[in-house]
Symmetry: C2
Subunit: 309 residues, 2 copies
């Protein structure tokens, strides 16, 4: 393990994923533990850190973390950096914990057209890991419980907007009258009913009305019980894409190509829905948070890059 130059941690609400990174920024390995800040007992984040790292604790290298660990409920609050937020600004505003080796990356904040604030923690680091400093005018989506869409330009997050798509989907499936009509859960390979839902979401409409269609279409026999969840997932993702496309257009951005950043099965569903919307989907590299943390650590002077041998 002597090649390790940095330990980078994507530390969110429900889990923490740690990466060993070498002096050229390559990932040597990763470990995931269900030790997100909401899962840790008695606020013992120090014990959670030791548990997440295991024998990596023996490495005498800097540690850097992003995500909810920097929130008011986390280890130490790293105040939000306002958009447009550059790699340099984030690196300048990292916060050092009293445990000397752990540095925490701030989240970023924005304000929407109506003057309401928007925030992210962790995704800013993924964005800076998945978009190279030389790229300009990249429109990116990070699908999830709270999906984020962002405009990234030359290493700066220019602006972003949040959609609670994943949380709404979970609420509807787990707790609503519509969920009781659904049998089975969607898998990565979306069904035709997913596309039908996407089409409904992309059309003009209002969410509180459109979702009622899951009931009436099931009542009419148009949607089978095992299609309801897929249709709802498509509808919610379709509406998100419609609204995000408008958001990008209002800012003068071209929503014709979107980079999807994220791991797991959700990116495949977004790729499918984007294609249905006539948008070119680019797949971002995996483990974007680790790459972003490496870049921030480098910029902050926590590590020095070696030339790859």
């Amino acid at each position: 393990m002597s090649d390790t130059a940095l330990i980078a941690i994507d530390w969110g609400t429900s889990s923490a994923r740690a990466y060993r990174v070498d002096g050229a920024g390559h990932l040597l390995g990763s470990r995931k533990a269900p030790l997100g800040i909401k899962q840790v007992r008695n606020g013992r984040l120090d014990l959670a850190l030791a548990q997440s790292l295991g024998d990596w604790s023996a490495e005498s290298v800097p540690l850097i973390a992003c995500g909810m660990i920097g929130s008011r409920q986390g280890w130490i609050e790293a105040p939000y950096v306002e958009c447009p937020a550059s790699l340099v600004a984030l690196a300048d505003r990292v916060v050092q914990t009293r445990v000397e080796r752990l540095t925490i990356v701030p989240g970023i904040a924005s304000v929407d057209a109506a003057g309401v604030p928007d925030v992210m923690r962790g995704e800013e680091t993924q964005l800076l890991g998945a978009v190279n400093a030389g790229e300009h005018a990249v429109l990116a989506v990070l699908p999830g419980t709270h999906s984020k869409w962002a405009r990234v330009d030359h290493g700066r997050v220019v602006d972003f907007t949040t959609f609670m798509t994943g949380e709404l989907y979970a609420l509807l499936i787990e707790h609503s009258m519509l969920g009781r009509l659904a049998e089975g859960r969607p898998d990565a390979a979306a069904q035709e009913s997913f596309s039908v839902g996407v089409a409904r979401g992309l059309a003009a409409g209002e969410l509180a009305h459109d979702i009622f269609g899951a009931r009436t279409l099931a009542l009419a026999g148009t949607l089978a019980p095992d299609e309801v969840a897929d249709w709802l997932s498509g509808l919610l993702i379709g509406r998100e894409i419609r609204a995000a496309r408008e958001w990008a257009r209002r800012a003068g951005a071209d929503p014709g190509t979107v980079r999807i950043i994220g791991d797991g099965t959700l990116p495949a569903r977004y790729a499918h829905a984007l294609a249905d919307a006539g948008i070119v989907a680019q797949t971002g590299q995996p483990d974007a948070a680790a790459h972003g943390l490496w870049r921030i650590a480098l910029q902050a002077g926590l590590v020095t890059a070696l030339q790859p041998t």
Copy 2:
């Protein structure tokens, strides 16, 4: 009790409300029991009926019911009548149960602009009770778990549309991350934060994004914990009003005046939000279902109207 000419029952999913009606259509009294079709054990709706009526069972008068009692999961299915649905069409299509004295009113169905069906059961009867046969071009809202907006003209429900506003509100407050930020529940006298939410809902936006504002405004200290529920309620009702107004306009209707039909505290909140939207709110008479059931029973020949003495 010898004045009783009809027993009218508004029989929904969670409760049943029975009314004694005299031969001039006046309400003599009502009884409510938590015996909606989802609450009745072993499908014994006959026992639930006897329990709801109590000593009224001794009256040898016709019984008529509307609501989910006429659904596939109810006593007997009364198939939907397509819009435009007149009082005459509903009366023609009532269904007789094998218990000779109980007649069930059908629900009505419509199709939205995207070709997706919409349905109601019970609200059609409230609409026909709250709008006189001589009135034309009435735009009405029935606030609730699944709010309904309808255009009613000369005793016909021309068209309607459903919004799952109440259910979304309950999901967000009871099960979402936003609900955990909220302290207390809204009461009938809406706070200023309700109006702020309404304004956000009336503006251009997307629900999945706008609701996230409850979190960021709470984080910024703009919304106090005891204002979160009011703000969310306002936002959801505001979005419903915005979408319903567009729906009415597309049909060529004037959304400048809206009749609110319903009992309890929700109509007051809708009146407040409509005023914020610059719409004149009319308050419909209470117990609209009983009046509608009387009219349908009269039209169906179940009863004969006496001249009021």
